[in-house]
């Protein structure tokens, strides 16, 4: 999911940077007034946990791997704006400190993992809980679908970005089906982990699931 340097042309890199910066500014303005020690602590600790979880690469025979991304989980627990800040912190540290994901592709990686994954996961979970109520069965299925579709749509976006970028010789007709299909398969695991964690938090500290508020 982390696009390295050299995969995106200047135009694609610039557009994704602008989109991510604009969204980031809007997200900050939305949460600025509600910032308090509790929300800051939640964002920090969840970012640390997601960063650690992303280090568990599960290599698959054939030379590829899957790892938990966590965008949908962050948004379900903290809402889309604080969820964005959580994932931004993770993706930014991965890029700047460990060069995991290119600096030229940081805008695209933030767009995929901190914006699209978060928004899709949040909207699916929030809609399901609003429609069917705050029951464990609803939470479980909604979180699974949020995690699964979140990562699948983020994979689709990744396919579009590298497919439209002239730096990558294959076009979107190749990159989109491959990236979307692969992430749809691997996303089942993302959905299961998201569902298990959300259910765990819901049973012990339901007030921490901010996407259920209001």
């Amino acid at each position: 999911m982390h696009i390295p340097d050299g995969f995106l042309d200047i135009a694609t890199a610039a557009i994704t940077y602008l989109l991510s910066l604009g969204y980031g500014g809007y997200a900050l303005s939305k949460v600025k007034r509600t910032f308090n020690p509790d929300t800051v602590s939640l964002v920090t600790v969840l970012a640390a946990a997601i960063f650690a979880a992303q280090m568990l690469n599960w290599p698959l025979p054939g030379g590829t791997s899957l790892h938990f991304v966590g965008g949908a989980l962050a948004a379900i627990l903290l809402g889309p704006w604080l969820g964005f800040l959580t994932m931004f912190l993770v993706v930014f540290i991965q890029c700047v400190v460990f060069h995991d994901g290119g600096i030229t592709a940081l805008g695209a990686n933030v767009l995929n993992m901190a914006i699209i994954d978060c928004l899709v996961g949040y909207l699916i979970y929030r809609s399901a809980v609003k429609l069917f109520g705050r029951r464990d069965s609803v939470r479980s299925i909604a979180a699974f679908l949020g995690g699964w579709f979140g990562i699948t749509i983020a994979g689709l976006a990744c396919g579009l970005e590298i497919g439209y970028s002239p730096a990558f010789p294959y076009g979107v007709t190749v990159t989109v089906p491959i990236m979307t299909g692969w992430h749809a398969v691997l996303g089942v695991i993302e959905g299961v982990i998201t569902s298990v964690v959300v259910l765990y938090v819901a049973r012990r500290s339901p007030h921490l699931i901010m996407s259920e508020a209001g």
Partner: protein
């Protein structure tokens, strides 16, 4: 508070077992990043190493075995995130005291 402690303990445990997945199993199955493989197959140059600015490239620490370096890198990452969080906490505390 209990949630924070549990989440932090979980993060530390995940980092401690992470080399098993990020290094040992990866070597066993000949793992490479999927996008790196795609780039190699079509002759696209991955600029990660030539554009590199960090000594902790790909969660490694110079001079340490890969497994140990992976753990150290994990703790460095968590420490930086917590450090940023502490700075943010301080800033929020100052803002609130100014408003009061």
């Amino acid at each position: 508070m209990l949630f924070f402690k549990k989440a932090l303990v979980a993060a530390i445990l995940l980092v401690l077992v992470s080399p098993l997945f990020g290094v040992v199993l990866a070597d066993l199955v000949g793992y490479h990043e999927p996008l790196d493989l795609a780039a190699e197959a079509i002759g696209l140059e991955d600029l990660t190493e030539s554009l590199n600015w960090t000594p902790l490239l790909d969660y490694s620490v110079p001079g340490l075995p890969a497994e140990v370096g992976y753990i150290v890198a994990g703790f460095v990452g968590i420490a930086i995130i917590l450090g940023i969080g502490l700075l943010a906490l301080k800033a929020v505390g100052e803002q609130r005291s100014q408003r009061a």
